[in-house]
Symmetry: C2
Subunit: 702 residues, 2 copies
């Protein structure tokens, strides 16, 4: 489809500015070298090309049909195409599932036709594609209408774009060309009746002319295909960068309505991208910056950035922005500072930022500094903030820079605090490095270069089994499992839960107390009361049988007063947990990507500050530890304000256990919430103080 | 200084590319119409201009001398200037306090000369200034070396720049010109031996040719002057936008070393800027975006943004970015949606984002939509995401847009998802609106347009008095006040503290218990033990005399074990506070700006999440309430998870009281920390459970 030797444009028009006219005009203007067949019964010739009344009339092999006719006529045209042996079709026409007025089944008919005939279809409602290597412009996007005279220097390695929004796909291309990036293919996928973004990703991962892939996603319609394609890209060493829209309620509604799809759950996407090693960008400029950085730099060993500048103000600002992005700007080693000091004026600076000053810059100061810093093991990345606005010269040796960049010892990132002139930017691009448009995008690039390697493929982790006893607990209940049942399920699955017993009647209490000792927690149990604390159904730290009896009566009375209709299973009496740090461990099952495990600080911190770390389940203990390190509240576990260090190992083991259990129970458990999990001092383990488990069949089927 | 009619360039050189040659060359190239006198004993003529051996030889009135000679020669040149009656001088030369090798006193000598002679001096180590209105280019910055042919359309209203970094000052000018902004004056202030950034701000606030001021600050050397200048700008209705560097440790060190200044405390700057209504930007592009937005738009009444686009993907992305910046993208009113629906295709969207689609866009759809939205009271601002890359036409009626913008009913902000062509950008600039370079900067602009009006001038608040009894408490101690003394100080100053008593001996306890009742808190008291909880010196919820005696002995023993040398004042016995939300109220005194009052959630949240709100002291209760609303943990006070609503009014009153006390005690108290303050349910007030007060003289003198 993307490298056709013969193309039919169905609906071609001689009017050069409309959508249908632009298809033919741009294909020719951009130098398509294959056979081109306009199809339109109203014309016998368009712009010197013979025009055919229908596809059948062409009587030659057709690799690709580009279809731009009214929606109602599309099914007939596609049938004609399939009958004529056309291999691939792109449906540019709108008026399908994205249109509330479209006839029911119109788009499904296209999908069925593709399955039936084997002809692959992109769209409908697609903006088409542009193949810059093979010179195929199967789109009306004006972004591909570039004057040959405007061709500028670009980085040799090429980026492929896959976008579910035509406007944004070609906007990425347009903005990327301006910063000197080279592209192979820009593909827009429209409503994805047949081919999805995952298919295009898989194809680009396999193409020799594509070194990285940039995606603009509204949804992922084919989760398994997407995961496989992303893993193929990873194996091929091709970085993938994605913008995923729908993070806000309004954005989600917009993404879902105009492409007639359900946008997925945000956290699941982030966990998926993290697992697949896909770098996530917030907006087009950041996405291009990340792509450019990953394409032209080796990964960084860490977060320590050396800043080199000729303006003290620019250097200090760069330090602020880079630090705010989570990187470090440490003082350079004494030997490094002395080596730089040797060739800069006394009013320069060497600590970090390094301020060469204009005096230290002339005569090769920048390259000497880069040489020194690329060999300093205390520096992971180098950010250079200079001025490249001169329209006729660059004040350092470009071929020397070229050599340093080609050695790929560590990332070197450039920013021009004045706007770079086309001349200045081209010079750096020719040397093999982009110029970042802002310090913010440079910092985002540095962060992505310093990210840890993605975790092992979950498929490589040992599969957990779900014991029959655990299955029995789930089978015995409909609706959410109350705490005692949830803990019975967890225990049956091999997790450690607190010693406890369910008391049905007050006379049970003596025996339970004798077995457990004091103090105990007293908690009313009902599937209808998931928030038992707020219902007054919990008493903690109860000591002595009289107090226990009183607590038993109190929690039952409170529950009945709060929810008279609630079915009450009894009262759970549990040995009180010792002190520790309160955390939450949870799992939510995403409809597309399956269970996502989450860990966060307990109490209000998860809710108010969203301080959580998430991964696709399952994870191993090492990955669970890396989740804990991501938390801002990690300090609580490390022995905050003189508190003892908490048993992080035990917590990581619990997170991994829960994630394996969730993966094994994927087809029957929708949600886990262990809240709080009390993490005791190092060596003393952790306690699942409360637990909620919500069964539910997997919407994707068994 | 900034609009001279006669200028001497001391150190002028015929070499066109060096710093000294560029001064003369740029002054002439940019059309300076006054008298220009090169001064250099080595030349009799430079580029057709008579060259003078020294300033005295000129024998004419000189408004401005631009001095670019070696540092050691600067004092002599300035003496000559003063003797010749030169009114103002700019010292471009480096080699003063920013240079570790500079002779001691060289820069102080310049300051003294200015004071002695009345000649005003900018610099040394300044990059000079550029006055675009009067065509005075007293700088060597290549950013001012613009080809006349490159002149493009610009917004009529002008921005003045004041920068402590020459490189960044002219980078702001360079980037601003590229986005179609007009500037009056770009002034860079160097080491500020005499004139400071505050002087330039005051001057720009008074100039008719300047409508807004953009500042790049490393420090504020003249706090009172700065406050007065910012207030003058506010009275004149001229927005001020500032980048303040030094937010990171590395940035702070860099800012302080290369300008030989102490960069101030971050929080104090933020509090100062907030008080003065100065909008804070993180980087140059954001600063330019905020300046442009404030210059061309009315303030917004709120945070509700309507997004209008022709690309569903761009609209959804804009919704995400705008929401992430703290704004809202609410569904539009039914009547508004119906009005827009009338002229767009069925596959368009009207909820918000509004997706006009290409079909709804042609024939005036954008302007009709803007007309509708500017009249909808449910919309505070409008963000338009379209494509402006066409090099020859803009697909909507520019004069109609011009009219809508001129009406200034509400902010209308434009973004082009493809890069705007010069043609497209110029068309919008001519219509009176900039095109934002990114969705991030557009969102930052929308946020700043929606910010609340700054609080009343602190000078307008009633001054608090410091009672003699309170002064006596401070005078009686050296070093930090232990809790009992701090509370005595607060009580003497009129704040409510818990009932309690200091017990020196065990036999005091009976009487104290009889007076206070139970339960009580038992806390060892020593100025040497500010962290008494971590030393084991606190017992809470003690009930009954035997337990009280035991607690008394325990806390003393723990304190002695923890710090054998600590001087112990006794043990504070206090009535236990009721339950509530734990908050922190504190004051830190900034060396430059005086006391800054802070409020935040207690416990770990302030420390881990930096969830605090700060203001220059004093604040009134209304402003204290607005501080509370800024906190992410505000939800805790509003009755989180079924908890009762807390007494926010009492907390606001306490914050205001503490801020007034801190302002009154500015010359003797360096720090307050009330931690925790327990805020009880609404109507029940709050309790200062613990308090620390650190005396210390004001470093600025009485």
């Amino acid at each position: 489809m993307l490298s056709p030797r013969s193309v039919a444009v169905v609906g071609a028009s001689p009017e050069p500015h409309g959508i249908r006219g632009a298809l033919l005009r741009l294909m020719r203007k951009n130098g398509f070298a294959g056979a081109l067949y306009p199809v339109n019964p109203s014309h016998r010739e368009i712009d010197g090309l013979r025009c055919y009344p229908d596809v059948a009339a062409i009587a030659a092999a057709i690799d690709l049909a580009v279809v731009a006719v009214p929606a109602a006529a599309v099914p007939g045209v596609l049938e004609d195409c399939a009958a004529a042996g056309v291999a691939n079709a792109i449906v540019i026409s709108s008026g399908f599932d994205e249109d509330v007025m479209a006839p029911a089944g119109l788009q499904d008919g296209i999908a069925a036709l593709a399955r039936r005939t084997g002809m692959r279809v992109c769209g409908p409602n697609a903006e088409g594609f542009h193949n810059e290597v093979d010179r195929v412009t199967a789109t009306f996007s004006p972004a591909t209408d570039r004057d040959a005279g405007a061709a500028r220097v670009s980085l040799g390695r090429r980026i492929g774009i896959v976008a579910q929004s035509g406007g944004m796909g070609f906007a990425l291309y347009n903005r990327g060309c301006a910063m000197g990036l080279a592209f192979s293919i820009v593909a827009t996928t429209g409503n994805e009746a047949d081919l999805t973004a995952a298919d295009f990703l898989a194809h680009l991962a396999a193409r020799d002319d594509t070194d990285a892939v940039l995606m603009f996603l509204e949804t992922v319609r084919d989760p398994e295909g997407f995961v496989a394609a992303a893993q193929a890209a990873r194996r091929a060493g091709k970085p993938v960068v994605a913008i995923k829209i729908g993070r806000s309620a309004a954005g989600r509604a917009a993404a879902s309505s105009h492409t007639a799809s359900m946008a997925g759950w945000d956290t699941a996407y982030d966990a998926l991208f993290q697992r697949l090693g896909i770098a996530v960008a917030r907006d087009p400029d950041e996405a291009l910056a990340l792509s450019a950085a990953l394409l032209t730099n080796p990964p960084a060993r860490g977060r320590r950035v050396a800043i080199v500048t000729i303006s003290g103000g620019a250097g200090a600002l760069a330090a602020d922005v880079v630090t705010a992005a989570g990187l470090q700007v440490p003082e350079l080693a004494a030997a490094t500072q002395a080596a730089i000091r040797a060739f800069i004026p006394s009013y320069g600076a060497t600590r970090n930022p390094v301020d060469l000053t204009a005096g230290g810059f002339v005569g090769g100061g920048l390259l000497r500094t880069l040489e020194i810093l690329t060999r300093d093991d205390g520096v992971d990345q180098i950010a250079v903030a200079v001025t490249l606005s001169n329209t006729a010269r660059v004040s350092f040796d470009i071929s020397g820079l070229s050599k340093i960049i080609a050695e790929r010892r560590k990332p070197v990132l450039f920013y021009s605090y004045t706007l770079p002139s086309p001349f200045g930017q081209d010079a750096l691009v020719a040397a093999g490095t982009p110029v970042f448009a802002s310090l913010e995008t440079l910092a985002a690039a540095a962060r992505v270069l310093a990210r840890p390697a993605p975790p092992p493929d979950p498929a490589a982790l040992p599969a957990a089994e779900l014991p029959a006893a655990a299955l029995a607990v789930v089978a015995a209940t409909d609706g959410p499992l109350a705490e005692h049942a949830a803990k019975a399920f967890l225990a049956a699955a091999g997790l450690e839960v607190p010693a406890g017993a369910l008391a049905g009647r007050e006379q049970d209490l003596d025996g339970i107390a004798a077995r457990l000792g004091f103090p105990v927690a007293v908690k009313v149990q009902s599937s209808d009361l998931p928030h038992k604390t707020e219902a007054g159904g919990v008493r903690l730290g109860v000591t002595g049988v009289p107090a226990l009896r009183a607590a038993f009566r109190d929690v039952l009375a409170a529950a009945r007063a709060h929810a008279p209709q609630a079915r009450i299973d009894g009262v759970l009496i549990e040995r009180m947990a010792g002190p520790g740090v309160e955390m939450i461990v949870g799992v939510t099952r995403d409809d597309a990507f399956g269970p996502v495990v989450m860990v966060g600080a307990g109490g209000v911190m998860t809710e108010l500050f969203h301080d959580t770390a998430c991964r696709l389940a399952p994870v191993d203990e090492a990955e669970a530890l890396s989740m804990l390190r991501e938390l801002r509240s990690a300090a609580l576990l490390e022995g905050f304000r003189g508190a003892p260090k908490a048993d992080v190992t035990a917590l990581a083991r619990l997170v991994a256990q829960v994630s394996r259990l969730a993966a094994a129970a994927r087809d029957r458990i929708a949600e886990f919430e262990l809240n709080p999990v009390i993490v005791h001092r190092a060596g003393d383990g952790c306690t699942i103080a409360d637990a909620l488990v919500v069964p539910g069949p997997d919407p994707r089927g068994a």
